[in-house]
């Protein structure tokens, strides 16, 4: 998304400067906008950067959050972060979770969008079913999923009744299956959003182009690959960035459904930070983890942005 914003800005400014006399006047004509963006900057940047600064300061302390005399420990908390095996596990889970959920959500989102643009009956009903999970808070849905994936839960019940009883297992109790369960809940929750964005983006593809392709004899799959997919490329890049940010921020679902367990199998940075800062009272260490999260997010943002931009230029 960031990639596109910058190219868009370029488009707003540069092509006009090349065309006629309007461009030269434009910078003069264009009123200054500092004051317009100021309130948003004061609130968001002010509050959030203040919090980052404060967190950075706390990350150098050995502090339980209440003691009046925290001791300064320099970079010791960061050294601890790098030595903490759970931190590395959390990073691994974040990467896996991002890749899997992004790919599946994208595939499902495009599929649903294409299907619902294909004049199926009762489209609104499907749309609502897909979007309701977006609306529901994880705090609400977590107990439902705990029940569904319990050993005597509905998921195993369905498996048994469709003749796959052999696959029934305690999904949330095993390190090997707990993370896939968490990922499937994430997919359940966010596919509606992906779908809506693709649905909207596909609405922008001109019908003439599609019809022309049909006249040329292109089938459904061919149309999807060579017209629809390129047409929604921007949305895909934006969603990749948003999913990556979402993966880094993951907290509610693993915290509420599996408590980061069993045996840290569903630990994410968010759950680790929460556990360290609040129940365990290692506020300094939690702050160091928070700063690591921010650094990772920035690296990732820059990486995705530059890659996205390169591709744009190639096109």
């Amino acid at each position: 998304m960031t990639a596109t914003t910058s190219t868009r800005t370029l488009r707003v400014g540069s092509p006009k400067q090349a065309g006629g006399d309007a461009p030269r006047k434009r910078p003069l004509l264009q009123p200054r906008g500092y004051l317009w963006i100021l309130p948003a900057l004061v609130l968001s940047v002010g509050l959030i950067y203040y919090c980052i600064g404060y967190t950075g300061y706390i990350s150098t302390l050995d502090w339980n959050g209440t003691a009046p005399d925290p001791t300064s420990v320099g970079a010791a908390n960061y050294v601890k972060v790098f030595q903490d095996p759970v931190f590395w596990e959390a990073i691994q889970h974040t990467i896996i979770s991002f890749l899997v959920t992004f790919v599946i959500q994208t595939a499902l989102g495009i599929l649903f969008a294409v299907l619902l643009h294909s004049k199926v009956r009762l489209g609104v009903v499907y749309k609502i079913v897909l979007f309701v999970p977006v609306v529901l808070a994880p705090a609400i849905t977590a107990p439902v999923f705990r029940q569904i994936f319990a050993y005597d839960g509905q998921f195993n019940w369905v498996l048994t009744h469709v003749g796959l009883g052999g696959l029934a297992q305690p999904w949330l109790a095993q390190s090997s299956t707990a993370l896939p369960v968490i990922m499937s809940i994430t997919i359940w929750q966010w596919t509606g959003m992906t779908f809506i964005l693709y649905y909207a983006a596909m609405g922008q593809i001109e019908t003439e182009v599609l019809e022309a392709a049909r006249i040329d004899g292109a089938g459904n799959i061919r149309t999807l690959v060579s017209i629809i997919w390129p047409g929604i490329r921007g949305t895909t890049i934006a969603l990749a960035t948003l999913s990556a940010i979402g993966a880094l921020k993951t907290f509610d679902i693993p915290y509420l459904v599996s408590m980061g367990g069993p045996n840290f199998a569903t630990e994410f940075l968010g759950t680790l930070i929460y556990r360290q800062s609040i129940p365990l009272g290692n506020v300094g260490y939690g702050a160091a983890l928070s700063i690591m999260l921010l650094v990772l997010a920035l690296i990732m943002g820059i990486f995705l942005n530059t890659r996205g931009r390169e591709k744009k230029e190639v096109r």
């Binding site: 004509l29 009123p31 200054r32 004051l35 317009w36 100021l38 309130p39 004061v42 609130l43 339980n64 959050g65 209440t66 003691a67 009046p68 705990r146 994936f149 319990a150 050993y151 297992q169 305690p170 999904w171 949330l172 109790a173 095993q174 390190s175 707990a178 599996s258 408590m259 367990g261 069993p262 045996n263 840290f264 609040i278 129940p279 365990l280 009272g281």
Partner: protein, 458 residues
């Protein structure tokens, strides 16, 4: 002309945006809340708030109603905070000027830890001395003050009552239905579970995804091998690598494969999963502490069973049994505990005197302690108070009353702490060790070596 107009426009836009900024700032400032304060306040009147994760809201209201019969002019508002969020809620509250006047505190390094919040608590030694005399310590269960006094000697909270872990609770109806007897040894435990399994009933259920309750289980196992060693290790006087612990952890690990633990134990939480299953009659045995006594009463059991999602709730008489002698050593059944919670008075309270009146009354007044005792949630802090059975309707007093009496009597002699000797670092390390052993990620030897090497545990 153009220049002028653009300046004028700019001014206008400046004005509008400046207004926006100003309002948002003003809005931020309006938010300042002011509370009316009377410094320190009166001891017999005022409005105080009390926050805790326990007792249940209904029990809390009972306590307050009894208190108001003596002190009608002190209004107490009790707010129960969910166990999982108590620490995140209480921390900013105590830092603010509008926090609770009275708050719960617990021994050890877990929820509401004395280590974390003692800085916000008033020293209660003067008031308890005033209420019970200078020999006050002889009148209360020793387990109370021992866990709630700081290393510098400040009595940070007064224990209202204690809870103990170690026993198991059974559903006697299920045992009778399949003609089974509660297990007394590890082998009997395994065979009982096989029998229940053959009838499609869950035998024993443990929230093994919950480190705290795993600790109770392993603690009980190691106490049946060698009583007291757990506490010695917790205070650094013994090593966690001791063969006794290796044996205890091995027994614990084997429970996941020998049919004692239910399938999927590691994904289960003690609350709500295990509790709801037991109360709904799906499970024959659970390991819960003395707080389970409250389900012996008709009212307590009926409410709990219906809260477990059962329509037309019909309660069954829960009964406690001693923890099976899993190592065959013939040691007495393990029982360990501490103050369930202590009441602390917030140093920033503007109604400190009234708050002290409430805390002292609940913790030291015989009538108050009788209410606590009769609620059967906690075992009263005053040693001369015990439940008055004529006032309590049990589900089946023939089956229940004698075991309850025995349990309460045994608890009165216990000096072994459940949480009190376990600091935050140790609690965390024990949680990691039990999870890795339960999940088969480490052998007991490996896990215990890691545990012993953890800094700050003793």
């Amino acid at each position: 002309m153009m220049f002028q107009s653009s300046v004028a426009k700019r001014r206008r836009s400046t004005l509008i945006v400046a207004l926006g900024v100003a309002t948002s700032l003003a809005l931020a400032l309006v938010g300042c809340s002011s509370s009316t304060a009377t410094a320190s306040g009166s001891a017999t009147s005022g409005k105080i708030t009390w926050w805790g994760w326990t007792p249940e809201i209904g029990v809390g209201k009972q306590y307050i109603a009894a208190f108001n019969k003596v002190y009608p002019n002190i209004t107490v508002t009790y707010k129960q905070v969910a166990t999982a969020s108590y620490d995140s809620v209480i921390r900013p509250a105590l830092a603010s000027s509008v926090g609770p006047d009275v708050f719960n505190m617990a021994p050890g390094g877990g929820i509401g830890s004395i280590g974390s919040y003692q800085g916000s608590a008033v020293d209660l030694t003067p008031v308890v001395t005033k209420a019970l005399g200078s020999n006050w310590k002889s009148k209360v269960a020793p387990i109370g003050p021992s866990g709630l006094t700081t290393s510098s000697g400040k009595l940070a909270a007064l224990s209202v009552g204690s809870t103990f872990a170690g026993p198991m609770w059974i559903n006697p109806d299920l045992f009778a239905k399949y003609n089974l007897t509660p297990p007394k040894t590890l082998d009997e435990w395994i065979s009982t579970c096989q029998a229940f399994k053959s009838h499609g009933v869950t035998c024993f259920e443990q929230g093994a995804g919950d480190p705290g309750f795993n600790m109770d289980l392993i603690h009980a196992i190691s106490d049946s091998i060698q009583p007291g060693l757990w506490t010695q290790a917790s205070t650094g006087k013994a090593k966690w690598t001791n063969p006794v612990f290796v044996q205890a952890w091995t027994i614990f690990q084997k429970m996941f494969s020998n049919g004692i633990m239910q399938t999927g134990a590691l994904g289960t939480q003690q609350y709500p999963d295990v509790n709801n299953d037991f109360l709904a009659g799906k499970t024959a045995m659970v390991m819960m502490g003395t707080w389970y006594m409250q389900y012996s009463t008709s009212a307590g059991a009926t409410a709990a069973v219906s809260a477990a999602g059962v329509a037309n709730a019909k309660p069954f008489p829960v009964v406690s049994i001693p923890f099976p002698d899993v190592a065959g050593k013939g040691n007495p059944a393990p029982l360990f505990g501490d103050a369930d919670f202590g009441l602390a008075v917030n140093v920033k309270s503007k109604q400190q005197k009234a708050a002290e009146t409430f805390v002292t009354w609940l913790a030291t007044n015989e009538k108050a302690q009788q209410v606590v005792s009769n609620a059967l949630n906690d075992i009263s802090a005053l040693t001369n108070v015990s439940p008055s059975w004529p006032d309590i309707t049990l589900v089946d007093s023939a089956k229940q009353q004698s075991t309850l009496d025995a349990l309460i009597k045994q608890a009165g002699t216990v000096t072994e702490p459940r949480l009190g000797a376990i600091n935050k670092a140790l609690g965390q390390a024990l949680g990691v060790a039990s999870a890795s052993v339960a999940g088969g990620k480490a052998t007991p030897q490996q896990a215990l070596a890691t545990l012993q090497a953890t800094p700050g545990i003793g």
